[in-house]
Every structure is written in C-alpha cells, then in structure tokens.
C-alpha cells in the first residue's frame, strides 16, 4: 500500500469501506473485556491489593521465571531457528511441525506431557530422582513449563526473519574467506537481530502468562511455583477484587512488553 501511495495520489489503493465494519467489531470484541476489567477495579484499595505479600511474591516469581525461560528459549531457540531456516536435510518440514507443536497444544496437554517426562515417575524423572534431582514442585518445573510453551514463539519469529533476510550477505562473507562461525557471528545474527528481539519479547510475554502447564506440572506454592496467573486463579476463589487488581497488573506488564517490541519493529530494520 505504501509503495502505491508514493507514485501518485490517483492510483492509491484504498480499502473498501465495508471492511471497517467487521474490523471495528473485532476490535470492540477484544477491547470491551479489558474495559470491563477497568470498570470493576477497586481503585481505592488497588495499591494495597497488588502490594500484599502474596502478590509481590507472585510478581517477583513470574518476572524471575519468565526471564529464565526466555534465556533458555534464546539459548536453544536460536540454533533451532538457524537449522530450520538454513539446514538442508530430509525431514526438515516434519521436524519443524513437531517442534512448533506446543504452539497449538492446549497448555494443560503440555503440562501432562512434561509430567510424564520429568515427573517423579516419568520417562526421565526416575533417572533424575536417582541422581538426587527433584524437578516436581520446584521453580525449575515452572521454568520448564514456560520454556516448553514459549519456545515455538521465538523459533517461529527468528526463522521468519532469517528467511526474509536471505543468505546473500552470508555467501559474500564466505567468499571473502570467513569461516561459518565468523559469518554467523558477524553477518547472519546482526542482520536478524530485530527478529530475534521481537521473538524473545514474544517468548517472555507468553512465559509470563503461562498457566495451564504450570498448574498441571509444577503445583502451586507461594514464592516457589505460584506465579502471577496462578495467584490470580487462587484469589478469584475468595477475593475477586484482588484477582481483578492482579489481572490489571498482568495486562499492564504484558501491554508494556508488546508496545515496546512493536515500537522497536516500527522504528526500522535495525
């Protein structure tokens, strides 16, 4: 659209007017529930509600675990995206479908799968138990659950960036005698840095909101495994004002992250 506009006002391709009606309906559908939360907030006690001991413990734990899972995602997700985008072997598309599966799985299914892998009687859990490593009911379990669900977001985002950037500069660098690791470090990765950052931001936001897999796999204990979404779920039983206040807190944190990453993307290719 912006390309057309540059040439001449006469050939500008506008949108058909009717398209605004369903678009607006969709926007109202998404925004109204957020407004509904805002209208129900007990503003007088808002600060007290979000600064209670259990709320602060939940927020701190959420930020800590989401940061750790984002680090895990970057550590293994970047190599995965590189292999998926540039690797050349048979079965790549099947592999891609498999590693992106958590994207479409209900988180509770992810939680059950993790339970039967790392749980005490799971596939690897027994061996880990023998080595004295207990993952069940630990903060590590939360990080594992969050990494499992948010990894595909980073991989998908970075793989897209790698494909759209193409490998032209990489070839030039290689022709000039650079070794593969040097090409990766000095050419490939700097070029896709915006894609990597937005992927990491998406992964962080997804980890922050993770609920189903954590509840199923990690349990719920203040300061150890009870993240912000689990605290909201629990508070809802007795104190709906606290649940609403914490919901708003989570919305604000998530919105800040999304806006920060969107403005970065709009700012330009680098």
């Amino acid at each position: 659209m912006s390309n057309e506009r540059r040439t001449d006002r006469l050939v500008q391709v506008g949108l058909p007017r009717w398209i605004y009606v369903p678009a607006l309906a969709g926007a109202v559908f998404v925004i109204t529930p957020l407004v509904a939360i805002l209208l129900r907030i007990d503003w007088k006690n808002f600060i007290a509600l979000i600064s209670s001991e259990s709320s602060r413990a939940a927020l701190a734990l959420s930020l800590k675990t989401a940061t750790a899972s984002t680090a895990v995602c970057v550590l293994v997700g970047v190599p995965m995206a590189l292999v998926l985008a540039r690797g050349g072997f048979r079965g790549l598309s099947v592999l891609r479908a498999l590693v992106l599966l958590p994207l479409v799985l209900p988180p509770v299914v992810g939680g059950i799968a993790l339970l039967y892998t790392f749980g005490r009687q799971g596939l690897l859990g027994h061996q880990l138990d023998v080595l004295g490593v207990r993952i069940a009911f630990s903060t590590t379990a939360v990080v594992l659950a969050q990494s499992f669900v948010s990894l595909p977001f980073l991989v998908l985002s970075l793989e897209g960036a790698l494909r759209s950037t193409g490998s032209g500069y990489d070839h030039i660098a290689a022709t000039l005698g650079a070794r593969p690791t040097t090409v990766l470090r000095t050419v490939t990765l700097p070029l896709v840095l915006p894609g990597l950052i937005s992927g990491a931001v998406l992964a962080f936001a997804r980890a922050l909101g993770e609920f189903g897999a954590t509840l199923t796999f990690a349990g719920s204990l203040q300061g150890v495994t009870r993240t912000l979404p689990l605290e909201i779920y629990l508070q809802r039983e007795t104190d709906s004002d606290a649940a609403l206040a914490l919901s708003l807190l989570l919305i604000v944190v998530a919105a800040a992250i999304v806006v920060a990453s969107a403005s970065r993307r709009l700012a330009g290719p680098l």
Partner: protein
C-alpha cells in the same frame, strides 16, 4: 455513524456467541441446576432418575467450584437450583437475597489421606504427613478443602509443610494418582471416585474438618415447583442412597 454500525455488529456477534450456550427455552419442561464440582457423578445420576420420574422434564447441570457458581448466579446466570459444597458459599447467596426459602443441608463430606496405591512412605496417621521426607500436597486455604485442612491442623497441633497448595481438590488428587507426591488430603468422595489408583487412609481427626452441603431453590427460578421437586429428591431417601454410595455422609 460508522462507529455505531460497528458497535451494533459487535453486539450481534456477542448475542450469537451467548445464544450458543443457552438452550431453547421451554420453561415448563426444564430446570437448570448449578452444583458443586464434587457432586458431578451423584447429581448426574439423580438427574436422570428425576427425568425418568417426570417424563418430558429435562434437568440441565452446570458443575463448577462453588465460589464460581455463586459469582455466576450473582451476575445473572439463569439457574433454578443451587447446591454448594460448603455453607459459606450458600450464605453468600442468601445474603444477596437470591435464595428462595431456607437452604436444606443434604450431605457432608470429610477429608481423608490419599497416597499412591503402593503407599511408598507407609503413611498411617495424620502425624505421618509432617515427616520431613514425605512430600505432601494439600488444597490452598481459600478453597473449602483447604480450610478443612487448616481446621484439622489446628485441632491436631500437627503443622504440615506442603510442597504444593492446589486451587482445587482434583489437582491434589491428580498429583497423587500420577505419583508426583507421597500423600495428599482430599475428600472421602474424591478418594472413592479414584478407585484403586490411590490408597485411602482415613484418620480419626478428620471429624473437625467436616463440610456440609446445602441445596436451595433460587429466587429467580422460572419453574420453582419443579425445582422444589428436584430438591426433595436430592434431600430425600432416593438422594441419600445415591450420595451414600459415593461416600457422602448424612448431614
């Protein structure tokens, strides 16, 4: 103008979505029962008995945690009967004037210890749960089964250090059936529903953590006569038989 059309269209979407969940309305032939999640199997059975005894009448159920159901009824969800897993949640509805008449207590439920079927840590008493090498899972204090757990702790003087405080009794049970934890505290009815997958260890101190289940016809009921008949079935002999088979004690 364009904005108004958009808003109207979005309301249409909302109306269609809402329409999906509400059944065709023939008030005389249908009652809607909101019941605590722990009543799912017993009430489903009583519902089909009721439909057999009242040809042409349909009983529809909404099973969820009692606090959730109270919130839904308070926000105007159409219901004829409410059965709560504790008196506190029923009291909330009585306070807002949404209950017609007085609630009737129809069952009680007590806590029991559950362990994986082999009971690896050889749990035999409530005090065993406090041993350092026993990973115990309980309900969080705000949930009815959690407040019952607290009552037992207070009465026995045994302080538990659980590895997890779950939001629902079913999540506690799940941690035991999958072998994640060594022991948990759930209701007798949950333990009997789980069958052989768990070992149930009753303990004498559970008497202080008894939950009473009340049932009531709601003020907004479109069919109070049929609703009352269903209540009578649940609190009567027929109901007692079904409830007792699932492990519920008499009030």
């Amino acid at each position: 103008m364009r904005f108004i059309v958009g808003v109207a269209a979005s309301w249409c979407v909302a109306a269609v979505v809402a329409g999906c969940s509400s059944a065709p309305t023939d008030a005389n032939a249908e009652i809607v029962v909101f019941a605590a999640a722990s009543l799912r199997s017993t009430f489903t059975e009583l519902g089909s008995q009721f439909e057999r005894d009242h040809p042409g009448t349909k009983v529809r159920f909404n099973f969820a945690g009692s606090p959730d159901l109270v919130a839904q009824i308070n926000l105007g969800a159409p219901a004829d009967v409410f059965a709560s897993a504790d008196t506190a949640n029923m009291a909330k509805l009585v306070d807002t004037g949404l209950v017609a008449g007085d609630p009737v207590d129809f069952a009680t439920n007590t806590l029991t210890i559950v362990a994986p079927s082999e009971n690896p840590k050889e749990i035999a008493t409530f005090a065993d749960l406090a041993k350092t090498d026993v990973q115990v899972v309980v309900c969080a204090p705000p949930v009815p089964c959690g407040s019952a757990t607290e009552a037992v702790e207070k009465a026995t003087g045994v302080t538990l250090t659980p590895v997890s405080e779950e939001s629902a009794v079913i999540d506690v049970l799940n941690k035991i059936t999958t072998g994640q934890a060594d022991a948990g505290l759930v209701y007798v009815t949950d333990a009997s529903g789980a069958g052989d997958t768990v070992a149930s260890i009753p303990f004498p101190e559970s008497g202080v953590g008894v939950n009473t289940y009340p049932i009531a016809v709601l003020e907004e009921s479109t069919n109070p006569a049929t609703a009352q008949e269903f209540l009578d079935l649940v609190s009567g002999q027929q109901g007692r038989k079904v409830l007792a088979a699932a492990g519920f004690a008499a009030p």
